[in-house]
Amino acid sequence: MNIEQLYSEAQQLSSPKLRDEIVHHLYKRSSQLCQEGVTYSKSKSDTKTEKLDAIFTSPLFGFPIMIVMLGLVFYLTIAGANIPSSMLAEFFGWLENYITAFFTFIHAPEWLHGVLVLGLYRGTTWVISVMLPPMAIFFPTFALLENYGYLPRVAFNMDRIFKKVGAHGKQSLTMAMGFGCNAAAVISTRIIESPRERMLAILTNNFVPCNGRWGTLIVLASLFMAANFTGGLKSLVTTGVIVGLVLFGIIVTFFVSWVLSKTALKGVPTHYTLELPPYRRPKFFDTVIRSSLTKSWTVLVRAVKVAAPAAILTWVIANIYIGDTSILMYMVQFLDPFGQLLGLDGYIMLAFILGMPANEIVFPILLMGYLSTGALTEVDNLVDLKNIFLEQGWTWVTALNMMLFSLLHYPCGTTLINIYKETKSKKWTFLAFLIPTVIAILVPFIIAQTARLLGWI
């Protein structure tokens, strides 16, 4: 008998659970050895860690606690961001009057005012007022949880599910990174050694919303989803919608991972040891200051850098006419039928296409598109913003589907570049584009058609 025959013989004898059994025995023997040969005089913090872990990583309470924590972070973000957001919007609106007055005073030509004030200024200040407050709250809260030692427990809880769908437990850590920025998260998948599981993590990271999309999700949720509620309840409902969306994104991640691990990326997940650090009292001041200032600031600078040229471009194509139709309107009209199929419209589709370089600018571009054709209201609070959307024929389905499209659609340009750099493969980069795009088209399509069929809209 040669070795290959022996191997196939062994395979017939063996069962797929064998590796798990081997590892299980190794661990059992390890703990037995430790019980015999090692004595611990436990310190207080050790017993505290054990007790807390029994709660946070319990199979029964682990997941509910995680969802509550997630909700809590979003609630703080949404409820806390509303007031500073409108204050900033009002401030920028107030400032705009003076800037316009200044332009009139120096007899600036109409087009210059258009490009600089209506395009650049409005676009960028909208990014700031809509996105800065949620970021300034979301980042530090998340960082505090990480600092306290809770996030590794999340990874521990998620590990069980990731194994079930054929992926690696560390993927939950790279997903947490994706909540900040998908492009950075793609690089962070380097912590996964196995190429197969790493590819899974790269291909699905997009389904967690990055901070470029938080602004869009939070604003649309609070404008449309909780319209009939007021006060604290309103924030609560908005939170519920956002938590639901995030959970949906995670479910899609599991689903796509599962399908891929049964097809193109077949294989069994590898074992790894996750070290749970002790719980620490977070360095409150340090964490809050560092993450809210440094992180929000860098993200904001990035957003403004990309938003400014996009704002100018949008204004220009909205104001250059071929015949009596602007270039923007040609594009919108071309995209509109497709957008309508998904319960969206041509403006939204165009905003997502022009927003390819960075998700942060999708919302401002959309707004500029609407403003350039609709009535030019003074947009200085969030209710006026809703009126603009309503004038364009928005319903709750439009808002929901735009949120879903934003959650599920193709990764931004930077992320795609990073995916190519990390995988060195055009095929996988293209798939990283294609898979989310197909899902982002299918889900809103089904919702829109169902809603129409049932006469909800």
Binding site: I3, S14, I22, S30, G37, V38, T39, Y40, S41, H271
Partner: protein, 240 residues
């Protein structure tokens, strides 16, 4: 010139394995490249009682399955290059997790020393380790070390020397698995032993074949073929 005595260092990441390697070999080290692999390993010599010991610092890994290149390189070195002694460096502050790797190595090779490093930190945390009991249970020497403070080095080098000259005989206790797995091992082990002889642990190879480790299978095939080629060549040169 006789072959140098080769000592391999294995261990989980962050157990102070490289600290131990550096402290032992000092500046007498260089980086070696291993055939067919892009991973490079640090090597260095140590003189002790008139003998030269050649140390090889294997990549830090949590296990020795065919999961990653690092795990494969470390495993293949221990199994196929057959160092005279393999040191497994464990972190005294998280022994339970670290033992896993030591147990795997004890299945693969005989001459093993279990080095429990970071012992000073463990003592600070109130962890007491009974190395005599562990030595009895594992069937190989267990030594407490602090690589940072060079505690336990004499005992370690002395133990290495005594293993090499045969004064200490390692007799690693083998893991026992479920009856079902043991039954399966029994069925194929005799054939494996016939094939690999005493070059590899036939029990370990059987287990890996049952586990479906194709990368190991390929490695064994390559090695067996190489040996065949070598033998025929030797035979040819002999008759010519």
């Amino acid at each position: 010139m006789t072959n140098p005595i080769r000592i391999a260092l294995a261990g989980n990441p962050n157990t102070g394995k490289t600290t131990l390697f550096n402290a032992l070999t000092g500046l007498r080290q260089h980086t070696g490249n291993w055939a067919g692999k892009t991973v490079s390993l640090a090597e260095g010599n140590v003189q002790f009682k008139g003998k030269t010991y050649h140390f090889i610092d294997l990549p830090g890994t949590y296990s020795l399955f065919s999961n990653s290149t690092d795990e494969e390189v470390a495993r293949n070195y221990i199994v196929f290059e057959r160092p005279d002694v393999t040191l497994v460096v464990l972190d005294a502050t998280s022994l339970e997790r670290n033992f896993n790797l030591a147990l795997q190595i004890l299945e693969m090779t005989r001459n093993v020393i279990v080095c429990i490093n970071l012992i000073d930190e463990a003592e600070k945390k109130g962890i007491k380790i009974n190395e005599r009991l562990l030595t009895n249970r594992l069937g190989v020497p267990v030594i407490k070390l602090s690589a940072r403070n060079k505690v336990g080095f004499d005992l370690l080098l002395d133990t290495i020397e005594r293993i090499v000259n045969g004064a200490i005989e390692c007799n690693p206790t083998q893991m026992t698995y479920s009856d079902e797995i043991e039954e399966q091992i029994k069925k194929i082990e005799p054939y494996i032993r016939e094939m690999v002889g005493d070059r590899l642990s036939s029990r370990w190879v059987s287990l890996r074949l049952l586990d479906g480790d194709e990368r190991l299978l390929d490695e064994i095939k390559n090695r067996l073929q190489l040996e065949e080629v070598k033998k025929t060549n030797e035979y040819r040169t002999a008759i010519l």
